[in-house]
């Protein structure tokens, strides 16, 4: 590859990295506002709590009740708090996806599949935390902090990696196609 082409690719990647940083900074600036707390976090966390309750009901835990950000029964309950809502890894996934070079068409599958997959994983996380707290209360803190937090961040990273693998293989196939 010619050095000038390499340099220009480097410029595009540097621009993508700067775009990623700017999007992340914007997200965190917004996350510290009252508007975010009262509208975005509150709405997303309430919906997550409700859907996690529905998931538990589907699994036969009919005594689980949802009240705002609290999910629980007479035996155990969990409260979805800011920072434990799963929004940050989701925001970082979106920022990486939007900032990386590529058309919207190429990114659409990641938006349509990756975002619902991460939201679903978060529901599973909340429901599983309730079950762990119910049956193994001594393990609750470990599973919440040591296991799920890291796993969820790596799941977001994995979603981006799978999209990147798919997108670059499409690109390679397109490049090899002589037509």
């Amino acid at each position: 590859m010619a050095p000038s082409s390499r340099r220009s690719t480097g410029l595009v990647l540097a621009r993508a990295f700067a775009g990623f940083c700017a999007l992340v900074a914007l997200y965190y600036a917004f996350a510290m506002t009252e508007l975010y707390r009262t509208h975005v976090f509150s709405a997303y966390a309430r919906a997550s709590t409700r859907w996690s309750g529905d998931l538990l009901a589907l699994l036969g835990f009919d005594d689980v009740r949802v009240n705002g950000l609290h999910l629980g029964s007479s035996r155990f309950g969990v409260q979805v708090a800011q920072g434990c809502d799963g929004l940050e890894p989701l925001a970082l996934f979106l920022a990486a996806l939007l900032a990386f070079p590529g058309t919207l068409l190429l990114k659409l599958p990641a938006l349509l599949l990756g975002v619902p997959a991460l939201v679903a994983l978060n529901l599973l996380r909340i429901a599983s935390l309730y079950l762990v707290g119910l049956h193994y209360p001594r393990l609750f803190y470990t599973v919440h902090t040591d296991v799920w937090q890291a796993l969820y961040v790596v799941a977001a990273l994995g979603c981006f990696g799978v999209w990147l693998a798919w997108a670059t293989s499409r690109a390679a196939a397109g490049h090899a196609d002589p037509r």
Binding site: S4, S8, G10, A29, M32, T103, Y141, T168, A171
Partner: protein, 232 residues
């Protein structure tokens, strides 16, 4: 000549996630003495980073778990901050904060090492990346408490950097306040390993090769916005 790793397959990503989970579980397992050993290292490093924040104040990092059984959420490290009485802070002359060395130190380190060692690269590169990454994450982990205690125990929100650069105060004060607030969340500890892992593991030519693949698709489809600046 060394060849850049450019081909990523979805199966490789899946295998990476599984390898990461196994390594992370292995490192986070409650090995006897690991919490105490890492805690001692952590306190030494934090003390090193906080001791010179301000010569008029003293910061003492101590073992807050001495003599008690450590649980998973144990706040085993205390940071005591003392200002001289003539500074007039009244009852805030001594302040204490507690933190868990496991969650603010060991966990991000384990996460980084798992990410690096799970990456499908030649072992020599993995080990080199693990060593470099370990140094970077340790610097981050040791620096965070110093960053946090700057405004916590200072009623005037008198950031050290702003004292050095007073002309920046109005514009940067809010930004630094925001960063200090952000540093109190747990998420920086989960997110910091990722950029450090990418920086330590992926070479520049691999980024470029990856970018070229994406750009080739854009060129073929005739999409202008994918063309690098100056490309024909």
């Amino acid at each position: 000549m060394r060849q850049p790793v450019t081909q990523i397959r979805a199966s490789q990503v899946a295998a990476f996630v599984v390898r990461f989970a196994l390594l992370y579980a292995l490192l986070m397992a409650p090995w006897p003495g690991s919490v105490e050993a890492y805690g001692a290292l952590y306190r030494g490093l934090v003390q090193l980073c906080t001791v010179s924040i301000d010569p008029e104040r003293s910061v003492r990092v101590y073992d807050a778990a001495r003599g008690r059984q450590l649980g998973p959420a144990s706040m085993d490290t205390g940071i005591q901050h003392r200002v001289p009485p003539e500074r007039g802070y009244g009852d805030r002359a001594v302040a204490d904060s507690l933190r868990s060395s496991r969650h603010t130190g060991y966990m991000p380190t384990a996460m980084l090492l798992s990410l690096v060692l799970a990456t499908p690269l030649p072992w020599r590169r993995r080990l080199r990346a693990a060593a470099g990454g370990f140094l970077l994450i340790t610097a981050f982990v040791a620096f965070m408490p110093a960053w946090q205690i700057l405004p916590w125990f200072d009623p005037e929100k008198d950031h050290l950097f702003l004292r050095l650069l007073p002309s920046l105060r109005p514009a940067w004060g809010a930004l630094l306040d925001g960063l200090c607030e952000l540093s109190l969340w747990m998420t920086p500890y989960y997110l910091a390993p990722i950029p450090i892992w990418l920086f330590a593991s992926v070479r520049r030519d691999e980024w470029l090769a990856l970018g070229d693949r994406m750009l080739d698709r854009g060129r073929r489809a005739g999409l202008r916005r994918l063309r690098p600046p100056g490309a024909a």
